[in-house]
Structure formats: C-alpha cells, structure tokens
C-alpha cells in the first residue's frame, strides 16, 4: 500500500494513496470532474482537455515553512496554467479548484470546441440519452452555439457486421484505438490523417478483422461507434437495465442487459463493477440473443409411444417422479444417473445432487459430460490448489510470468486473455503458451514464447516441464510431505531430457528448461489450463501431472495457489464446489461412496446397468465424446429426462423434457474460474412454459415425497450457507457488488508419478476446442454469432491443404475409427501441419470416434459432397 497524501479539492480534503490522479482523487472527494479520453484501463493521455482544473501547492517561505494568509490558512501558489486532472498526480498538501472562474472558463471552452465539428444529431444517435458529451453539453455548454461555419464532414461506414462508424460525432479521444491495442491486442482500429481531419477507422477502411468484441463501442463516450446489432432498436430510457453474470464462459463477467418487454436488446459492460468492468467479449456482448430465439421450448414434453407430446407441468412432473420411483425400487437407486449441470447455478446444482443423493439415494451425479476420460472432481480441485487463496484476474494482469497449458484462451476464457494482453502491454508480463496451434497469445506481437507441442504430446511436455522445474531444486514454501513426494517424483522423470524431449514433444529441451526457469523465478506468476486438459483423452493423468508441475513450479504453495482452471461453462467451478461430482460432496469432502462419473454412467446405461438418465442442458448426442455409446444408452434406457431450452437432438430422444429458464430469466449465484461466487440476477421473466431448473427439481422431489419448501433460490442459498463449508457467512446481500472469493481448507497435495502415452496411428491429429464465434451448442442459436462464425469449418495448415489438394471453400471428408464427417475447409496457418482443427461447436466430432491415448487421428480427403456438418 503506497503512502497516503492529503489533497484539498474545492475545499474538501481527502486522503488518497500517493500517485493517485487528480480525477480519481476528485471522485473520492465526491467532486465531479468530467473525463472523455481517460480510462481506468489505459494510461493517462490528457488529450481531450475536458478535465482541466486549477492546481496549486502551499507557498513556502525561505525556511520551507508554509506562508499563512490573514485568515490562518496556508497561502496557495496556483500554477499559471490550468492542468489536466487525468494526468496530474496528487502531492501532499495539493489544492485543486475545479469550479473557479478560470477552470470553468477553460472547461466551457473545451466543451465548445468539442461541438465545433460535432453534428449535434442527438435525436438519431443510438448514444442519445447516455452520451457523455450530451450530458456535459447540458451541464457546461453555452445556451447557443457561437460556431456557425460549415463543419468538416466524414462519410459514415459499417466496419464489418458489428461496428457502425459515424465519424462526424467522434471527439478523437482515442479510447477505442487504445483499448483495441492495449486491452484486446487486436490493433484493428487506427486514427488516420491528422488535425481536424483525424478519423478513426481500420486499415484502408476495410471491415474490421478482429475479435468483434465491440469494446470500442462500449468505451466510446459519444455515438461515433455504435453496434449494428442494436442500431435503432431502442432508446436507452426505454430499456430496463439489469446487471447479471454472463453465461458464456467461466470468467464470470458482469453484464448489463438492456431489456424491453420479453426481449434482450443489448448487453453492455458495467463500468465500475465486476471482474470485467466495461470489458465483454463478442459472445458476452452480442451472443445473448439466443434467449430471444423463437424456437425455445414452451411446454413440457412427455413421450407417448413414438412421439413427444406437449403436456402440463403436473403431468410431466408426476410422470417423471413415478418412473424414477419405479426404477429405483426395481433396480436400486444406483440404476439412475444424474448427468450434466455445469450450466446450472449453484443453488440448482446443489438441489440436483441433493435430489440424487438424498431423495433418490443415487451416488451417480457428475456435471462433466464432455470428457473422454473422466477426471475426478477432487483431482481438479487439487491441481488448482483448491481451498487456498487463488489467482484472480487482477492477479493475472499483475503477473510477471504466465504459463498457459494447452488452452486457447481466446475461445474459452477471453477475459483472461485480455488480462494477459494488458499485463503485457502495461506491466511487462511475459507469457509462455504451450499449444499445438499458434493461438493468439502465441503470436510474435505479444513477445511471448510458444511451445508448439506435438498434438497428443501434452502429457509428455508436462512431464518434461516438471523435470526441468525440479532440476532447479525444490521450490520455496512447500510442506515437507510435498517436497519428499517431489523428490520421489524426480526419479520417475529422469529420462525427460535432451533429445527425448525434442523427439516426443516437438519442443526443444532448452525451450522447456527456459520456460520452467522463468516460471520458477517469477514472483507473481500464473499457471492456466482448461478444456484442453480437462477434455483431453488422457485427462486423469494430465491433471495429475499438472498438479505435480504446479507444485514443482511454485505455482501452488502451502499458502496460496496461482493456478486457474477454466471449465467449459460459466458455473463449472460451482459444480466442483457444490459436489456435483461423482466423488466429492458439497464443500470438497470426499463422497462416502464413489458414484459413476457421467461417462461411466453412460457406458453403464449402454450396458443396461443404468436404466434412467436425467440430463440437464447438455446436448450429449452432439457433444459427448462417444456418440455411439450415447445412442446405445438412449436405446436401452427406460427413462431419459432432459432439462433444456431447445428441442436439441438429445431432448428429442428423451421421455420427458422440461423446458427451462435461460440464465437471464432466473436468480441464483455462480462461481467463476477465480472461485468467485457472484450473484446472477433475473433480467426478464422466463419464457412461457419454462421454469428455473431448481423449481423443476423441487417439484419432482416433492412428488417423490421430499419435504422441500424452497420459495426462492435464496432459500436454497441459505441452506447452502448453513451446511456447506466454504459458504459459511455468505448471503445474497454479501455478494454485492463484487461477489465473494470462496476459500476453505487447503486441499492436501497428492503427488504421483504418471506415464505419458503418445498419440499412435496414422493420419491427421484431430484438434478441437472452443472458438470465439463458434463454441458449444449455444453459439449457433445466437443469430449474431452464427453470422460471424459462418458455419463450422475444418481448418488446415496451408501446406497440409495443398498436400490434400484443398483450397478454402472446398469440402474435406474426415474419417475416424467410427466413421466419416464432411466439413467446409478453411486455410489457417496457426494450425500445425499434420493436424486438423475443428471448433467444438455443433460439429459433432463424436461421429468420428472416441479420442484415446493422446487423442484421435483421422484420415482426410477432398469430398465431392455438398452437405457438411455444422454449417
């Protein structure tokens, strides 16, 4: 904490840390100083000059004592010129006048200048009503304009499908350009020309080739940049604004939804709140239109004979409860499995497992459905140093060294990527990306290191990194049992040096050693992994190897953890905390009896051992790794219950379908990848016929005779706070505004040696994962995202494509052990030769076969077929 200094602003004295900007100190003193160009995530610029103030210091006499005025107050030596508050840092004893004649004249002058070339077209501007220029003109402007000469004008233009530019309104604050550069690392926007002709645009006015995040629109203080998807849809005062948590990824950004009637018209950031503040990625900002989709389910469906028929809620609940009771009675409670739930909120997750464990007595609950090889909940908790104070996004931004293991953050944790980009641009952060593809953060522009691991050799590389870390000696602050375990581990890693590293992983031993050294030596560090690990064919061994590595790098210590894991969904972390896992109970405790994991349950169902499946919000047919197994399970199961928004392929196979509320239609709390528990709010009523999942669970539980009496999700939360360790003392009230970081008892390490198995066989290595525009099953339900994605394509390195005789737009048939699928081709030089990348988004990669060992290999050939998957 830096030293506190006293400043007096318009007569109000406040104490702020040394180095605070006058504008921020003014906020603390509750004196309003307007700003346009300055932004909390960007370095001071001082360009717009709207924040001009008078600044002075006490006059000192020859003995450096303050000179006192007649009234006993110190005399102030005011600086001859006004100063910009956004670039001036406070000094002890400083005086600031924001409303003196001099300051006011200067500010009015700036205001008038800003309007010299501004079109004053507020009535047709989307920013109208929430425009900072409009507000200030109202507060400071003259009552008439002294400027009646011709204004210089620009043409308006669409910079691609998202951003509309109306340059005449631009005040050249450069926020958009700087944000695009310093936070997004995109450099899509630039100022061109100069002087009064300065215009914000892209290279040669081409459509923006970028993440389409729309943050430029967000930070624009005027209506120069507006969002095409929202254009002319509403006036801001027509919208109800609700702050809730985005459901697109595990970062847990706060999002302000603008709702009119039953429709979400837009999403914005939250300025001074949340882990993200103004930041949102393209999905968070433009992807929520799936909630408005016309094809949402509006009534429960119950199978009668071959067809699913709409039914009343009562009928569906009664039917489901009766069938569950029968099956449990006949085949035992463990013949029922509860699958999925990472998209549920914590209260719903809690009730889902409670329904399973306490009402029906089944041990088979597991949220993680996409895994080819199930990882236990406890293993993930251990690998992330669960229970310890963990890494936050702020900590990530402040880290000196970041190691990203096998994850494309752009597609799966965009806020984390933005924190790294900004840390790199502003704080000298260095990033090492271990990934088969040259993902965004591995581009030369971020001056990091790319460990271009051979597809399938992820485990091998992790072992090599661990060995290199242990070669540096024991990390500091490790408990004795960990250091002895690490010592024992060292032996098992003896062979991971030199040529073996190069041959097995494709990365030189020197690069591996350097990466390990950087991580070990960095004070503030971060180790990140995600679905690339959790859904890896060797996930159990890989997660164990990462736990070993994290300790060896000092990323987990007795005291704290610098490891962050990104699950596939916005409440994946909640599922772990709340025991929606076959081997852990709410609050991390081991389950007394280990149940079946989701994957095991499906296999058991295919064998007829499990007879009923309750699946929540997961289109298993498209996304479970073994499609054939899922099909077989569905054939065999006596009862399949599905909670869904849409009639997915999986829902279409169910016996009972409960239409459920979307995230914005219900209240609850969710846990992000920082393990931050945040309140998620209801922004609009559920779609007709849809109910919150917890309400469905309660109805069925009651029909099964349970004495559940939750009126609201808050009731459920009270029970969680009462009964689950780690949630003690929390209430909805304590979650505002920034949520609560969950801690608990540090989970003990369990360091064990694991063996690497290479990706055997012939053909192209199949790579997959989420991408920004195409991710999971929802992105295709968002009109905006679907348009941006333009279908799911197979991406090939230029060399690979030409070897196969393919050009962009051709079709390629990929064939795996289970069969073929045809995709449109995209040429992508970030994909290594010898591999093919297909986004995990409605692509039904599970038609090809089940990844095993290091993954899956497929053969590829040019296809004449016009039909493709996921187009």
């Amino acid at each position: 904490m830096s030293k506190l200094v006293k400043v007096t602003i318009d007569g109000r004295t406040v104490e702020v840390p040394a180095g605070t900007l006058v504008t921020d100190a003014s906020r603390a003193a509750e004196v309003h100083v307007p700003i346009f160009c300055s932004h909390s995530k960007l370095p001071p610029l001082g360009a717009c000059r709207i924040c001009v103030v008078e600044v002075g210091m006490p006059k000192l006499d020859a003995n450096r004592q303050p000179v006192m005025a007649a009234d006993g107050t110190p005399e102030i030596a005011w600086m001859p010129k006004v100063q910009t508050g956004c670039t001036t840092t406070v000094a002890d004893g400083m005086h600031v006048r924001t409303a003196s004649n001099v300051a006011t004249k200067a500010r009015k002058g700036v205001m008038e200048f800003l309007l010299v070339n501004h079109p004053l077209d507020c009535p047709v501007c989307d920013e109208g009503g929430e425009c900072q220029l409009q507000d200030l003109a109202f507060a400071f402007g003259h009552d008439h304009s002294r400027m009646d000469e011709a204004k210089r004008t620009f043409d308006s233009e669409d910079l691609g499908p998202i951003v509309k530019k109306e340059a005449n309104r631009c005040i050249v604050c450069m926020r958009c350009v700087r944000y695009c550069d310093e936070v997004m690392g995109e450099n899509a926007l630039t100022a061109h020309q100069r002087g009064v002709h300065t215009e914000i645009s892209s290279f040669d006015r081409q459509p923006l080739a970028c993440e389409q995040c729309g943050n430029c629109v967000e930070v624009c203080p005027v209506g120069a940049l507006t969002a095409l998807p929202y254009r002319f849809k509403a006036r801001p005062w027509d919208l109800r604004q609700h702050i809730t948590i985005c459901e697109w990824c595990p970062n847990g950004c706060s999002v302000r939804l603008g709702v009119r009637g039953m429709e979400i018209l837009r999403a914005r950031g939250t300025e001074f709140r949340g882990v993200n503040q103004e930041y949102l990625c393209v999905r968070g900002r433009f992807g929520h239109d799936f909630v408005n989709a016309a094809d949402r389910l509006t009534a429960p469906l119950v199978r009668t004979g071959a067809a699913l028929q709409p039914s009343t809620q009562e009928e569906a609940v009664t039917y489901a409860a009766a069938r569950l009771r029968d099956i449990a009675a006949t085949h035992g409670p463990d013949s029922i499995a509860f699958v999925g739930g990472e998209k549920l909120n914590v209260e719903e997750q809690f009730l889902f497992q409670k329904l399973a464990r306490h009402v029906l007595g089944s041990t088979n609950v597991d949220a993680r459905t996409r895994v080819a090889a199930a990882v236990s909940g406890s293993a993930v908790l251990r690998a992330t140093g669960g229970g310890r104070p963990g890494l936050t996004f702020q900590g990530l931004y402040e880290a000196k060294e970041v190691l990203v293991l096998f994850e494309d953050l752009q597609g799966e944790a965009p806020l984390a990527q933005a924190a790294i980009v900004r840390g790199f641009r502003q704080r000298g952060l260095h990033v090492t990306v271990a990934h088969a593809r040259r993902v965004k953060l591995a581009r030369p522009k971020f001056k990091g290191d790319h460990l271009a691991v051979k597809p399938g050799a992820e485990l091998a590389l992790t072992l090599a990194l661990t060995r290199a870390a242990l070669d540096l000696g024991m990390p500091e602050a490790v408990p004795a049992e960990v250091s002895s375990a690490l010592g024992a581990l060292q032996g098992s890693l003896a062979s991971w040096t030199g040529d073996k590293v190069q041959n097995e992983t494709g990365v030189s031993a020197a690069a591996v050693a350097a990466a390990a050294k950087r991580m070990r030596e960095a004070g503030a560090k971060a180790l990140l992994f995600g679905r690339g690990v959790l859904e890896h064919a060797q996930a159990p061994a890989l997660v164990q190897a990462i736990e070993n590595l994290a300790w060896a790098l000092g990323a987990i210590t007795a005291e704290q953890s610098s490891v962050m894991a990104f699950g596939p969904h916005h409440d994946s972390a909640g599922a772990l905390e709340i025991g929606l896992s076959h081997d852990t109970l709410p609050g991390h405790a081991n389950a007394p009896k280990r149940g079946l994991s989701a994957r095991e349950a499906i296999a058991a169902a295919a064998e007829g051992k499990v007879r009923a499946l309750w699946i929540v919000s997961d289109d298993l047919i498209a996304s479970a790794p073994d499609r054939a197994l899922v099909e077989k399970a569905f054939e065999k199961c006596e009862l399949v219950i599905v909670n869904e928004l849409f009639l997915t392929r999986t829902a279409a196979r169910a016996h009972v379908v409960f239409p459920v509320a979307a995230f914005a239609e219900k209240e609850g709390s969710v846990v992000n990848s920082e393990r931050r528990l945040q309140k998620s709010n209801r922004a609009l009523s559920p779609r007709k016929g849809a109910r919150a999942d917890w309400d469905v669970f309660q109805s069925v539980a009651q029909a099964l005779g349970a004495d559940w009496r939750y009126r609201t999700s808050e009731d459920v939360f009270r029970e969680i706070a009462r009964t689950v360790p780690g949630f003690a003392g929390l209430s909805y009230a304590t979650l505002l505004p920034d949520g609560a970081l969950l801690t608990g008892t540090p989970i003990a390490a369990s360091i064990k040696a694991v063996e690497a198995a290479p990706l055997a066989g012939e053909g192209l290595a199949l790579l997959s994962g989420g991408t920004l525009f195409a991710d999971g099953s929802l992105s295709s339900r968002s009109a905006t995202l679907a348009k941006l994605a333009g279908g799911v394509r197979a991406r090939l390195a230029p060399a690979e494509a030409s070897r196969l005789g393919l050009v962009a737009g051709d079709r390629v048939e990929l064939t795996g052990p289970a069969g073929p699928a045809v995709f449109a081709v995209e040429i992508d030089d970030s994909v290594p030769a010898g591999a093919v990348f297909v986004p995990a988004a409605g692509a039904e990669l599970n038609r090809l076969g089940v990844p095993s060992g290091g993954g899956l290999r497929v053969s590829a050939r040019k296809s004449a077929s016009a039909a493709t998957v996921g187009a």
Partner: protein
C-alpha cells in the same frame, strides 16, 4: 488549403520488394534498436519503388517492420509527403505559407493552375504534373519557392516557372 482526407485508391493486390529495395530495407532496420522505428524510412523506400503508397505497399511495409497494418496506415496518412494516390511524373509542390505568399506565391499558383489546367492535388491528363499547395519549405528567404519531387526551386516568378516546366517536360 486544408489537408483534407485523402484515402488511398485501389492498387495492385500484392507487391514484393525488388532486390535493391530489400537491401535498403535491411539497412534501414539495422539503424535502430527497435524495428518499428524504421517505418518512415521503409515507407520512403516503398514510395521510391512505386511512386505512391498503395494499400498493398503499406501491407508490405507492415510486414517488413513488424507492425500491424492499421498502424502503418495511421502513420502513412499522418504525414503529408506520402502520396496516397498516384502522382504525376513531376510533383510540383508550391509553398503557400506567409513568407512565400508575401513574395507572390498566390500569383504563381494561379499561373500554374491556368497553365496546367489542374488545381491542388490534381494531375494533368498526360500524367506529367501533379500540382500541390504545401506549407513552409524552409526556403522563406528565397520565396516564392517550389519543390519538384525533392528538388528545390527558389526565387521563382512566372518566367522562371515557365522555363522550369519547359525543362521538365
């Protein structure tokens, strides 16, 4: 005489450096500890190669100095001496700032306008001359003055301009 917004027109789809230019680019890069510093010298090399900076040329420059294309675009359009549209064989840049104006620059501009049939920023149909009004060239003591390409022509009057145009043909 406002600078105005000049946008590049379409040019060739892609361009490649000649061998000579490649060596010049390498030399320019070697002069700075930071690559991006070479963006002006390399833009100059491109302008010398092709006479003007087409989008393709700017893309090539971006690759050579390791900058995003957008930044090169922002830089190239900031300065007035980079031609964002093709110019004639002789680029007549007549100084119009005070000292030259006091000595008759405005009269000369009208003379050139009439003689060539083009105005500020325009190129004669035969592609021979582009006429441009520019700001102070640091030749104030010898005004009116004009740069043709990089060559200074000073103490001009109508007769000298006529003779010069005759010579340049």
């Amino acid at each position: 005489m406002s600078h105005g917004t000049v946008m590049p027109v379409d040019g060739p789809a892609t361009l490649e450096w000649s061998e000579k230019a490649k060596a010049e680019v390498a030399d320019a890069l070697s002069r700075y500890p930071v690559k991006r510093s070479a963006v002006l010298p390399v833009l100059w090399i491109a302008q010398r190669e092709w006479g003007w900076l087409s989008p393709a040329a700017m893309r090539l420059v971006a690759g050579s100095v390791g900058l995003p294309e957008s930044e090169v675009f922002g830089v190239a359009t900031f300065y007035t001496m980079f031609n964002l549209v093709p110019v004639g064989r002789h680029h007549l840049q007549l100084c119009m700032t005070l000292s030259c104006s006091l000595m008759g620059a405005d009269r000369l501009y009208k003379h050139l306008q009439k003689k060539l049939g083009v105005s500020h920023g325009e190129t004669t149909k035969d592609g021979r001359y582009t006429l441009r009004k520019v700001e102070c060239l640091a030749a104030c003591g010898k005004g009116p003055c004009m740069q043709v390409g990089f060559d200074y022509h000073e103490n001009l009057d109508e007769a000298k301009v006529d003779a010069l145009l005759e010579k340049l043909k």
